[in-house]
Amino acid sequence: MSDKKPISSVNDFVVRFANVNGSGSASANELFARAILRHGVPVSPRNIFPSNIQGLPTWYEVRVTEAGHLGARGGVDMMVAMNPQTWDKDVAGIEPGGYLFYDSTKPMPSTKFRDDITVIGVPLTAITNSTYTDPRQRQLFKNIIYLGALAALLDMDPKLIEQLIGEQYKGKEKLLSSNVHALHLGRDWALQNLKCPIGLRVKKSDKVGDRIFIEGNSAAALGAVYGGATVCAWYPITPSSSVAEAFTSHCKKYRHDPETGKAKYAIVQGEDELASIGIVIGASWNGARAFTATSGPGISLMTEFIGLSYFAEIPAVIMNIQRAGPSTGMPTRTQQCDIIACAYASHGDTKHVLLFPEDPAEAFEFAAAAFDLAERLQTTIFLMLDLDIGMNHRLCRPLKWDDARQYDRGKIMTAEMLEEGRDFGRYLDVDGDGIPYRTYPGTHPTKGSYFTRGTSRDRYARYSEEGPVYADNMQRLVRKFETAQDLVPRPLQANAERPTKYGVIYFGSTSPAMDEAIGLLEARGHQLDRLRIRAFPFHSSVASFLAEHDFVYVVEQNRDSQLRQLIVNENGIDPVRLVPIVHYDGSPITARFIAKAIGDHQDHLKVTPLRKAVS
């Protein structure tokens, strides 16, 4: 039936599940991804879901990648088409030579298939209905049955899946055995009725190592627990809600006093983002480590308070799980589109510290570091995740914590220091780093109190509208921002094998696709030095990198090349030398996209000598 040879690949293919949301498919699909990991083969799964609870199409894509390419690849080798609504589009999206897995209970006209793919029909509904009577059970176990059939087709070890089910339903014997039963129903049917395995196979390997499989939002929330956050105020918004929810569940496990059962944290679901950031600012002003998690629309609402944090110098940590904007945009699609909005948030002259983690491991580290930075710098620190890192499980190095680490609470003037007669000026720069001392409310009966305000004031926090006094303060804030450059995570540079005039700058969730793209570009003969920016303000090594290369590509996931704008603006360099490579359709950027965009530009740059061209 096929006029194209079926794809044959071991441990390197993409399976996409097309489901209806609310059908319980998510857990079965995640089980599939985890099962492959248990084979020692890296996977990179992605949820592609609508802003809806039930009834709309949703996809789950698993990239099986022994080589460890964790970015999205693009293309589908096997489609598990469980959603009639999207059938035509799903079938059309399969790579030539690929595979279509579907529920063959109802006959389909031949026009609904393609002749360049392998079609695998399993009567899932029939099997399910003959085994289960309860409609909910039918729905849920159908998912496990297709998982069983896939295990047979892809030559997966059923014991590893059983083991995972056992861990998931530990202590719930009934659920455990019924899930295992469903798994074998599907697997046995496939083994008896289909040619197993197919060309796509999972073979045991050892490429996972000690890596862990975690969502960025959960890792960031854990970073907040380890980093000593005690106050969390938030307002539900996709894709950030799971940060606060994960923080809540981590705190329930790790933050209750064992004797009294009381909570060493306070979480408030605010009435909106204004209240959330207000609570964070109030708590931080009063000496607690506090944070909020939000997304673009929330950032827009918070900007007045962000300006207050900058000008009155109050610590705050904002985790921004970016989604496609502007306005409501595409709430369940990924982008890196709030770079400018966050870097310069609020009216007047403001600048803010941004951290760009590349994966959950860095989300954990940077989240914890954000609280140190916020208290050290007495300003807002943005942790810039995006939906791709935040809401997908990602394979990453294990989380680490040094037990000797103490929190950096910044410059706090204590009652003892005040008693010693230390000069306290809330906005007085005593050692040239632009950072003044602060006191917590209630510190001393007669010394160290001050009036915090968003209006201008002098070094001793006394209201002033004098021009020089205002300018003096604004200049000190510039000095403080310069100090920040050396405190934030530095960029990481990786050079090409051979010296090259070309460089590439990237950040955040683009990382795995970029790493893979470098290999593709090298295969085409393009050598590129790489710089992964991990924070704003930019460290001086960014300027050096720009100076060392003729052209630098700036790869990012937004329309207006916002990081490039920020680099041009902050470094005062000729924009022509910075080539924007932008991907902004809401899907995660792929290696194929980057390699093509940069490769085409490189080919275009190569000047063919005239003599060679005419000969």
């Binding site: 996972v208 000690d210 890596r211 862990i212 499989f213 975690i214 854990l222 627990v225 380890y226 000593g228 005690t230 106050v231 790790y254 006093d257 009294t260 009381k262 909570a263 060493k264 944290y265 306070a266 979480i267 408030v268 009435e271 204004l274 209240a275 959330s276 207000g278 609570i279 964070v280 600012i281 109030g282 708590a283 931080s284 002003w285 009063n286 000496g287 607690a288 007045e304 308070f305 294990p398 989380l399 680490k400 914590w401 040094d402 037990d403 680490r405 103490q406 917590y440 409310p441 209630g442 510190t443 009966p445 007669t446 109190s449 001050y450 009036f451 915090t452 305000r453 968003g454 006394r462």
Partner: protein, 351 residues
């Protein structure tokens, strides 16, 4: 805006409270509000109440929004930390501050624009969250700093200084506070310090969300005929249901009251409030009754003042969140960080 330094010397014979502080220790900078502003009387009442309660001034956190009223925390408790935050956002800042350190006294000062217009939502939500605070609205029905626009508490039919008649309905913050579950609700008048001072003192001693709406005429923009927030109008229409004496400690009540005229309310911290009834039928423990009473009298154009509702057994946000007794802002890595051994276990569960 304070160009004149306030002299620090005082009469050597000035009375001292239990902690040895004089009135002067509870003062702040010189007010820059207009001479005769009702807000200055409220400032004086706050100073008086804190003095009488023998509160350590630095253990109070004063938080405000933006506007004339929100400037006033600079004019009292000069040894306290103050926070003049963002317009309409005092309640959230105060909530956060309270979560960080439950041991301080939180005094929220706001205005009618700050709380009934731009900050109506935050006002409502801080009340329904039962934040332990004293929330004072200095209510003059007008935007003073921007020169006389109506605020959301301006009564329908009242006239602005420029002669414009307000056609919008007024928000009664007291009615809303009652509806949202505030556990101490009062209204007073800046021109009636004898009523206001004990109300503020009792509100501070109350554990839970205390709300006081203080009608405070704006001398510059809302003190003319046709205004329902002028000194004359409020004096004429003030309908006080009771007057208070705050009795700290458990000593026998020394004051002689005529029998049946006094109701003693014991608060959470052991302090007591003696309510001298003016309206014999008014019961300040009846939330529903208070709401009805208020509506009926408002319809007659009367401004009901006094302690309108109190629940002495109130709970606060910290109780609802079950937080530790130790202020959260004093906790360090040794108690907050689960450590590397736990992290290893977490890692193991993620493979």
């Amino acid at each position: 805006m304070t160009y004149i330094a306030k002299p620090k010397f005082h009469h050597p014979g000035l009375k001292k409270n239990e902690l040895g502080y004089t009135h002067r220790d509870y003062e702040g900078k010189i007010s820059t509000l207009c001479a005769g502003c009702g807000h200055d009387s409220i400032t004086a009442s706050i100073i008086e109440a804190c003095y009488e309660l023998s509160i350590e001034p630095h253990r109070v956190a004063k938080i405000s929004g933006i506007g004339c009223s929100s400037k006033t925390p600079d004019y009292f408790l000069g040894n306290s930390h103050g926070f003049n935050s963002v317009h309409g956002r005092m309640p959230s800042v105060l909530t956060g501050a309270n979560l960080a350190n439950r041991d301080l006294i939180y005094l929220g000062v706001s205005g009618d624009g700050d709380s009934a217009s731009i900050g109506f939502g935050q006002f409502a939500h801080s009340i329904r969250r039962c934040v332990n605070m004293t929330y004072i609205v200095e209510n003059n029905g007008v935007y003073g700093l921007t020169k006389g626009q109506f605020s959301a508490t301006a009564d329908r039919g009242s006239k602005s200084k420029k002669g414009v008649t307000n056609t919008d309905n007024a928000i009664d913050l007291v009615a809303i506070a009652l509806q949202l579950g505030a556990t101490f609700v009062a209204r007073s008048f800046s021109g009636d310090k004898t009523q206001l001072v004990p109300l503020i003192a009792a509100a501070i001693r109350h554990k839970g969300a205390s709300f006081i709406d203080v009608i405070s005429p704006c001398i510059a923009f809302n003190n003319h005929a046709g205004s329902t927030k002028s000194f004359d109008y409020v004096r004429e229409h003030n309908d006080a249901v009771n007057r208070l004496d705050v009795l700290v400690g458990r000593d026998p009540i020394a004051v002689d009251y005529a029998p049946g005229t006094v109701q003693v309310v014991e608060q959470h911290d052991g302090s007591r409030v003696a309510l001298r009834k003016i309206d014999a039928d008014y019961d300040p423990h009846d939330r529903l009754g208070a709401m009805t009473f208020l509506q009926k009298h408002a319809a007659k154009g009367q401004i009901v003042t006094g302690l309108l509702y109190v629940d002495p057994e109130a709970e606060d946000l910290h109780e609802h969140l079950n937080t530790v007794e130790t202020p959260l802002n004093t906790l360090e890595a040794d108690t907050l960080c689960p450590g590397s051994a736990v992290l290893d276990k977490i890692n193991a569960s993620l493979r």
